[in-house]
């Protein structure tokens, strides 16, 4: 007997009802009486001294009430703020600007239009300084040191390494075959269709409420309390409906702080909403990893060792939203799906005159960089060994019996079964037939390629012993209240941005409590009502908050069992939870449903027992979860133009127990599309003066429905042994796994010409250039 909306059912989403009616409530929809608007003056220079800021004309613009400058904030010690990586970031500059598009002053006005006019009227005189744009040049002796405010007079931020350098070098030396490759994973921008913004308001009691596009409202509240010195009970962060996050809405952006200051100064609510060019120019970016890697194998194709050196361009401050102990995120998942005996990884963080950020592109902490690198190298090695890339992977996968598997770089993979996933993808796509077709096409001089990516993800940060952000442990939470009529409300520390939490959380609870999903209201994002949690990013909601839901529900069941025993006049020991109700062992007809028990909890509970039926759980995961998958991409290439057409893309994912198959598939479709975007289209290009070229959607091209491949999805199911319902995260797997499959397919199409690598994004002119170089065009 199943409960309606329980685990495994593709029920329709609860949240859709408001979205399809245009009744969503996004930040820009929030309207308060007397609300003012903030607009921001931004720097045209990537690196310059500010000589003066003249606000006279701006203040004369009708409707303009105030202009806020760095020196104004300095008085309140708010000109600088800490980043999530304990670096420092300017809210507004006092003496220097560090990237093109940096906030320089805030103009507060009665309308959006007046604020924009005010921004145009602010006069700033700069003295240009030499910008540092290339992170490699930034490390050269004599390079201008851009962080004048730091003790350490260098652009080098930190060095991080893991693994055994000596042993790895030795193993590579001893390898029959090695491949060395530089890979650049360019800076890209997450560009959720809703930009960032907030509405800040103080009430008569001095309580601050901020409606904010944030994926982590609770952490934001604490950061505000620490930075602004406001008592935490007087701060309420409300994260309303979010128009896509993908990590771009984790950081605290200067605009939020300026809006709060403006509200304080003017005594009016203040709204700030970025336009798209501001979003592209100044919000958190992703990637920007300059990688040099070496991989080795024996001549019969057994992997031996992996060595990776990376220069990470962080912009002018390290504001990557990583767990604090992991400056390079979880990049050391880079051994991927393979049992390397020896590996060494090092990363150096570097300052440049670019906006800060890092990781915000639907990617769990640098895992895309890792998966892309290893899956590219595996293909290059197979190519060098003249082995089929599928066969080569099959030969080297971590065997199923090895799980839980301890990787040489220190992770314990919870569960995996890689071979069947790849085999399934091969069967669906018709791998062997495609290889035949490829041979025939090559004879005719036509270019087609088949690319594989068998990635391992790492999500669900994370265990408190190692995972925290600014000291806040990365647990998450669920609080359930069952009402007398057997309906329920559940609140969480996470915040959905399209993932469908209102539906999936209700499904977990339905399964655990025997209450239909439609009878369970799910709330998130209001720090005054929801239990504390670290928020939604890095595919952590299901692994952490989803687990909290199950655990809180089980606490409810504990108490419910006592009430059921009381009602049935048996001892709790005689009861079992079966078919979503408590029944007497061997006497299934003698049973109480959760609805009956809930009513009793308020009307007829045992003497000495507290009334009510509520529970809260703060879940500290014992380990992360390790979703995986095998993707196969088939491309055709136009020899004349270098255009790449993705003919087919088959994605087999394994994210453990699936709560709502419809939603999981949707997440995979979206992730695949962002992986495709990074592989084929997107790159933030800066000129030598530090100007971002393409600071609007006219030039920064997101995929449309036309070129986006017709995704084919399938699954295998390998539950997580440590997660209460066996679930793993899935939101980012596809973004992590897709790029390598696409690039591998393109390189495979050109491999017979001697092509071994192409950096993303794969533009037609890059392919055309290679074809010319190899005399094949």
């Amino acid at each position: 007997m199943t409960v309606h909306g329980g685990i495994g059912q593709s029920i329709k989403r609860k949240e859709d009802a408001r979205f399809i009616r245009g009744k969503g409530n996004y930040v820009d929809d929030v309207q308060l009486p007397g609300m003012l608007y903030l607009d921001i003056v931004r720097s045209p220079y990537a690196h310059a001294l500010i000589k003066y800021i003249n606000i006279e004309k701006a203040l004369k613009v009708p409707g303009v009430l105030a202009v806020i400058r760095g020196k104004d904030l300095d008085a309140a010690k708010l000109a600088w703020m800490p980043t999530l990586m304990s670096d420092t970031q300017m809210v507004l500059p006092i003496e220097r600007v560090m990237f093109q598009g940096q906030e320089v002053a805030g103009v507060v006005a009665e309308s959006r239009y007046a604020a924009a006019d005010g921004v145009a009227a602010v006069e700033v005189e700069y003295e240009p300084m030499t910008p540092v744009v290339d992170p490699k040049k930034a490390l050269e002796p004599g390079a201008p040191v851009i962080r004048w405010d730091k003790e350490k007079k260098t652009n080098h931020i930190w060095h991080w390494e893991v693994g055994d350098r000596k042993a790895t070098d030795a193993a590579l030396k001893a390898s029959d075959v090695t491949v060395t490759q530089d890979l650049y994973i360019p800076r890209i921008h997450v560009s959720s269709i809703e930009t960032c913004g907030c509405v800040a308001a103080f009430d008569a009691m001095g309580k601050l409420t901020v409606w904010m596009t944030t994926q982590a409202p609770h952490a934001i509240r604490t950061v505000f309390a620490l930075v602004a010195g406001l008592p935490e009970q007087k701060i309420r962060i409300i994260s309303p409906d979010i128009g896509g996050g993908f990590g771009g809405k984790v950081p605290v952006y200067p605009g939020y702080v300026i809006a709060v200051v403006a509200a304080l100064k003017t005594g009016h609510p203040v709204k700030w909403v970025e336009d798209r060019s501001e979003n592209l120019q100044s919000d958190s970016f992703a990637r920007d990893y300059h990688i040099s890697a070496e991989i080795g194998a024996t001549k019969d194709g057994k992997l031996t060792a992996l060595k990776v050196k990376t220069i990470a361009d962080h912009g002018y401050t390290d504001a990557a939203a990583n767990p604090s102990k992991f400056p390079a995120g979880l990049f050391h998942i880079i051994t991927g799906s393979y049992p390397f005996q020896k590996a060494f990884v090092e990363v150096d963080g570097v300052y440049t005159n670019k906006p800060p950020g890092g990781i915000a592109y639907r990617c769990s902490f640098r895992v895309t960089e890792a998966a892309y690198t290893i899956e590219r190298l595996i293909d290059m090695l197979a190519q060098k060994l003249r082995m089929d890339p599928a066969e080569f992977r099959m030969k080297n996968f971590i065997p199923q019996q090895a799980f839980p598997y301890k990787s040489v770089l220190g992770w314990e993979y919870d569960s995996g079964n890689y071979g069947p996933a790849l085999r399934k993808a091969m069967d669906i796509v018709g791998y062997e037939a495609l290889r035949k077709e490829q041979l025939e096409k090559r004879k005719r001089g036509e270019l087609m390629g088949i690319g594989i990516s068998s990635f391992t993800e790492i999500v669900g940060a994370g265990p408190s012993k190692t995972f925290d952000i600014l000291g806040l442990k990365m647990f998450d939470s669920c609080e359930i209240r069952i009402h007398p009529t057997g309906k329920a409300i559940a609140r969480f520390g996470t915040k959905s941005q399209g993932q469908g939490h209102e539906t999936t959380y209700a499904q977990i609870l339905a399964e655990e409590l025997g209450i239909p999903a439609e009878d369970i209201a799910v709330e998130e994002g209001d720090t005054d009502t929801a239990p504390y949690g670290l928020g939604t990013y890095a595919s952590r909601s299901t692994p952490v908050a989803g687990a909290a839901a199950a655990m809180a529900a089980r606490k409810i069941r504990e108490k419910a069992k006592l009430i059921a025993a009381h009602l049935l006049e048996v001892s709790p020991g005689d009861l079992e939870w079966k078919d979503h109700k408590f029944s007497v062992k061997g006497l299934p007809s003698k049973a109480k449903t959760m609805q009956e028990i809930a009513f009793a909890a308020y009307t007829n509970h045992p003497q000495g027992m507290e009334a009510g039926l509520e529970a809260t759980d703060y879940y500290d995961p014992p380990n992360l979860t390790f979703p995986f998958g095998s993707y196969i991409c088939v491309v055709d290439i136009d020899k004349d133009t270098g255009e790449v057409k993705v003919r087919r893309f088959v994605a087999v994912d394994d994210c453990g127990t699936i709560i709502n198959p419809m939603i999981v598939e949707g997440q995979i479709h979206g992730g695949l599309t962002m992986g495709f975007a990074a592989a084929m289209l997107e790159e933030m290009q800066y000129d030598e003066h530090g100007n971002l070229h393409g600071g609007t959607f006219m030039d920064y091209l997101l995929p449309t429905a036309v070129e986006t491949p017709r995704w084919e999805t399938a699954k295998t199911t390998t539950p997580s042994p440590h997660h209460p319902i066996g679930a793993k995260g899935v939101g980012e797997s596809a973004t992590v796994g897709a790029p390598a499959a696409i690039v591998n397919a393109v390189v495979d199409a050109l491999s017979h010409l001697g092509v071994t690598h192409i950096d993303i994004p794969i533009t037609p002119w890059k392919v055309w250039g290679l074809l010319h170089e190899k005399g094949a065009a």
Partner: protein, 146 residues
């Protein structure tokens, strides 16, 4: 953006020199609407309304004669801000006389930052180039004419 060019005029070096040292003479070589104000003999400020067709805005800025080796060589630095952008031009002129002709060799390093560089590149590419050449072409005409 590095630009350079040269032209020869039938005029003595000294006249060419004084022409380039005269802010109002120079100002007369700017075809866009503008105004110039002399702060002192080495410093000028003013505004110019520049762009292509309807894509134009007003830039306010200043110019400085950074170096003068009469009547041989001069270096002029100009800076302007407008349209959410800024331009910085560092230009040198080098004069050489042959008979009754003077040859002017000019170099200009023009850097554009901000909105135009970032979002208007597709729209305004080549404009700076045109404007700069136009400026020196006007100078040539004036020197020839006078």
């Amino acid at each position: 953006m590095e630009l350079e060019g040269s032209f020869t005029v039938r005029a003595p070096k000294d006249r060419v020199w004084s022409f380039f040292m005269d802010p109002f003479a120079l100002s007369s070589c700017i075809s866009d609407p503008h105004a110039i104000e002399v702060v002192d003999e080495d410093h000028f400020k003013g505004w110019v309304k520049a762009g292509v067709a309807f894509i134009k805005g007003t830039f306010t800025g200043s110019a400085t004669i950074a170096e003068r080796v009469p009547p041989e060589r001069a270096r002029i630095k100009a800076h302007g801000a407008g349209m959410g952008s800024a331009f910085d031009a560092d230009s040198t002129i080098q004069l050489s006389e042959a008979g009754n002709e003077t040859t002017v060799r000019w170099k200009a390093d023009v850097v554009l930052n901000g909105t135009i560089a970032s979002m208007g590149a597709r729209l305004l590419k080549g404009t700076i180039d045109k404007k700069t050449n136009e400026f020196f072409e006007n100078a040539r005409k004036k020197l020839e004419g006078g």
